[in-house]
């Protein structure tokens, strides 16, 4: 049976690929995905608009016999943000947890919009079950957009920062 994060990972991979339709079947569970958009763009990174992601995964949501996840490629939809930020890398969360933008409530944020980062620059901390994971930028470049807030619950694979690499 697929886990929620695995489904999410699949959506992402399929969305970035040229596959239009995808079906996965195991032990009576079927997951099928279909792209509705006609233009399979050649944008470097496609923003994945997944369903609002609840962090407290509900146990009552037993996987349905057939799950249909529609991935629509919409242009940047946030109304107040018309300008498209120029970026080519997204720093993603490696796990579910609470995001902290600073080492302690009194400390300055690790990075801000416009901060220059190296591969090993710590950009934030994600905490799950009291394990504190220092997230590094993994690329050299500049933080051009911050997609999360201090104290926010984040999902596995959720984009946290956008980086324009050098």
């Amino acid at each position: 049976m697929l886990k929620v994060q695995e489904i999410r990972e699949l959506i992402k991979l399929i969305d970035q690929s040229s596959i239009d339709e995808f079906t996965y079947e195991t032990n009576g569970t079927t997951v099928s995905m279909k792209k509705t958009s006609e233009d399979i763009g050649v944008k470097p990174i496609t923003r994945v608009e997944t369903v609002e992601q609840p962090v407290e995964i509900s146990k009552t949501e037993e996987p349905k016999v057939s799950e249909s996840v529609e991935v629509t490629k919409s242009e940047a939809v946030e109304p107040e943000q018309q300008s498209v930020v120029d970026y080519d890398y997204e720093i993603e969360s490696p796990m579910v947890g609470t995001l902290y933008t600073a080492a302690s409530p009194e400390a300055d944020s690790y990075v801000q919009k416009g901060s220059k980062v190296q591969k090993d620059t710590v950009v934030c901390i994600v905490e799950a079950m009291k394990l504190f994971n220092e997230i590094e930028a993994e690329v050299n470049g500049e933080i051009v957009e911050i997609l999360v807030e201090d104290g926010e619950l984040v999902e596995y694979g959720q984009p946290l920062f956008r980086v324009k690499t050098k």
Binding site: M129, K130, Y156
Partner: protein, 334 residues
């Protein structure tokens, strides 16, 4: 050299109250009796008191109380954990040193231990009081070959290891407050802080920090936390040998870790739940957006907190502030 000395200590400790003849030691270790005598002198330098009687042999009168790389290593029955030990009499925090060592490619299983920490690290850089010589202040450096999202399970595993050692060897009844605080009589006795450096699909390293209040008297614990913090000595009226306690923890940790890597989380989950604090009771949960009451059912197959809301909905939580004490008992421990 060191391994000969390890064997020597083991031979002497096995027969603790009886004399072991120099002849026997020399045959077992395949070294001359003069060499045995030299080793004995070295052991005395590290704090052992050894009695040597002609015709009868040697026996240990007293094991060293002071911590050192040697005293921990001698008598430590592990395969890979603690093969490299860094001991500091005083340091800012063992976590800090372990992070530095990790960046310098120090191997899996390395241990950092201090007699005293001047800036002991708690969660979110909260201060941890680590009085000189009174407790265990230790960091374990690991390079596990597991996916980063599974790493939080190591925190729960460490909690079960401490609970096992405290209940079996120290004769206390510890409880684990999800995910990782060790309580005795509802008061915090030990804490665990796990920090990780990882990429999306690979762990660079994990540093597990363990702090245990052992031989503290009430006077050693700041008054403002008397109601929520305690030590093994306060709860049992006994003093404990720190070196011995560290060795027990490392031995128990190694076998628990090996079993986890081999068989996964189910055994850890069962053990954790056997020590779980407030399982089956109502707790108050707070996230950044809301606060609600739920019944604490136990932990999920991945270690998450499993709760049942008033409307019967079952939820898994990975990160939340929890008030473990309902109205009236609030602020007792946090």
């Amino acid at each position: 050299m060191a391994s000969t000395r390890n064997k020597l200590i083991k031979l002497l400790e096995k027969t603790r109250d009886n004399y072991v003849s120099g002849q026997f030691l020399s045959e077992e270790l395949n070294i001359s009796r003069a060499a045995i005598w030299k080793h004995m002198k070295e052991l005395e330098k590290d704090g052992y008191e050894i009695e040597g009687k002609s015709k009868r042999g040697y026996r240990i009168l007293k094991s060293p109380e002071k911590l050192s790389e040697n005293t921990i290593q001698w008598g430590l029955n592990t395969e890979w954990l603690g093969k490299k030990i860094i001991h500091k009499s005083s340091t800012t925090s063992t976590q800090h040193i372990a992070h530095q060592l990790a960046q310098e490619n120090t191997p899996h299983g390395t241990i950092v231990i201090a007699d005293e920490q001047t800036a002991g690290k708690g969660r979110m850089n909260r201060k941890w009081h680590s009085t000189e010589g009174k407790g265990v202040w230790m960091s374990i450096l690991l390079r596990p070959d597991i996916l980063p999202y599974l790493a939080p399970q190591l925190t729960l595993l460490t909690a079960t290891v401490l609970a096992d050692v405290l209940s079996k060897d120290m004769d206390t009844e510890p409880k684990i407050k999800w995910p990782n605080d060790i309580l005795i009589n509802n008061k915090k006795t030990a804490g665990i802080l796990t920090e990780m450096q990882a990429e999306q699909d690979q762990i660079q390293y994990v540093v597990i920090g363990v702090g245990i209040n052992v031989n503290h008297t009430l006077g050693d614990i700041p008054e403002d936390i008397h109601r929520k913090a305690t030590s093994l000595q306060i709860e049992t009226n006994k003093t404990f040998d720190i070196t011995n306690l560290i060795q027990h923890i490392l031995q128990t940790f190694e076998s628990a870790y090996d079993s986890y890597i081999k068989y996964g989380f189910p055994n850890v989950k069962n053990k954790w739940e056997s020590y779980g604090f407030r399982i089956g009771e109502t707790i108050q949960i707070k996230t950044i957006k809301k606060s609600w009451e739920a019944v604490f059912l136990g932990i999920a197959e991945d270690g998450a907190l499993l709760t049942k809301n008033n409307d019967g909905e079952i939820k898994k939580l990975y990160s939340a502030e929890i008030d473990w004490y309902r109205e009236g008992e609030r602020n007792h421990v946090n």
